[in-house]
Symmetry: C2
Subunit: 199 residues, 2 copies
């Protein structure tokens, strides 16, 4: 019902994840009413620049604008541990804790036979290649605790059997600060199964 | 923690209304991982094009890419009624009902003395100018039922006293399909005050 170019702008924002029609309208109107022409041009420029320059790190497959990302190239990181995650947002979440000092490996997805996503569609081979020099002593499988994430972790752990490397899975249980009464059944079962000795 | 250009992209999305840091990250990663370079360029192009071409309708002040918007220039619309709203999103919401056939007037805000927004900062004068030819017989004040929106409606209704025009306010009450028990106090009070005879 708007003029074609406004409809087009709304439709573009609507395609982004987590943005419905109402939010897309709100964003479009904000841009048209409140943003300066310079800011809008800056935004458009950043989209083009990012899309052009960002690629996958040759080593960990995380998004970067260099050939090797800042984590992989940092001399301060412990190169004997690799934390395997599904996506760049997981790297971000773990980095924000400032507690992990090893490297990462980004799979860019999880195995999902239902959607036709097999081992060759995610970065599993690239992980195996990183183990060639024998420098890695532990692989932490930090894929999501979903059916696909768990299947991916199990699949990778089997592939890693021939390698002389410790394979671990991040713990699942009741989140800190939340109430047991609100936890779902599977989480409670996992938390009970993984109970740890306190004395 | 990402490379500079990724951080920049996230930061740009974070500035849009209703998008927090997490959502901005998600959108940025979606663009970098799942969008084709062409789609990203299209999006950037649309932002620039929209920002360049969209202006305010000379008549109703709604956003448009023509000098007079499609509603104002339509011969099918009833030019004797003007519905006054705060923003283009309100026009969109009312148009979606397909029940209103009059014209609109977009104020681009509401009076807000606390934020220093006075009568000259919103499109009130433009509304008065539209009454000059005596063609308009009713003004529906459809500003939001907030403190600022109500104050704006009251202010405009006073300005319209010298004009030979019917001034109405949209009704407020319990939304259709919702429960009275969940309505807030003010809405219930308004609904009781505006009760209507049924027989």
């Amino acid at each position: 019902m708007y003029s074609a170019v406004i409809d087009e702008l709304i439709e573009k924002f609507e395609r982004l994840p987590g943005i419905g029609h109402k939010s897309a309208e709100r964003i479009a109107f904000y841009m048209l009413e409140n943003m300066s022409e310079k800011d809008a041009e800056d935004m458009a420029g950043t989209i083009i620049k990012a899309k052009k320059n960002v690629r996958l790190c040759e080593c960990c497959q995380n998004l970067t604008d260099e050939s090797v990302c800042s984590v992989c190239s940092s001399p301060k990181r412990d190169k004997s541990v690799i934390c395997v995650v599904e996506g760049p947002e997981d790297v971000s979440a773990i980095e924000n804790t400032h507690e992990y000092n090893g490297l990462y490996h980004v799979l860019h997805g999880a195995l999902s036979p239902m959607d036709g996503i097999g081992p060759d569609d995610i970065k599993i081979n690239e992980l195996l290649l990183r183990l060639a020099d024998g420098e890695v002593s532990e692989i932490i499988l930090a894929t999501n605790p979903t059916v696909n994430g768990t299947a991916t972790a199990v699949y990778i752990s089997k592939l890693l059997l021939p390698f002389d490397v410790r394979v671990t899975r991040i713990a699942h249980g009741i989140p800190i600060g939340s109430d047991i009464e609100y936890a779902d059944k599977i989480t409670i079962i996992k938390a009970l199964e993984s109970r740890q000795l306190m004395n």
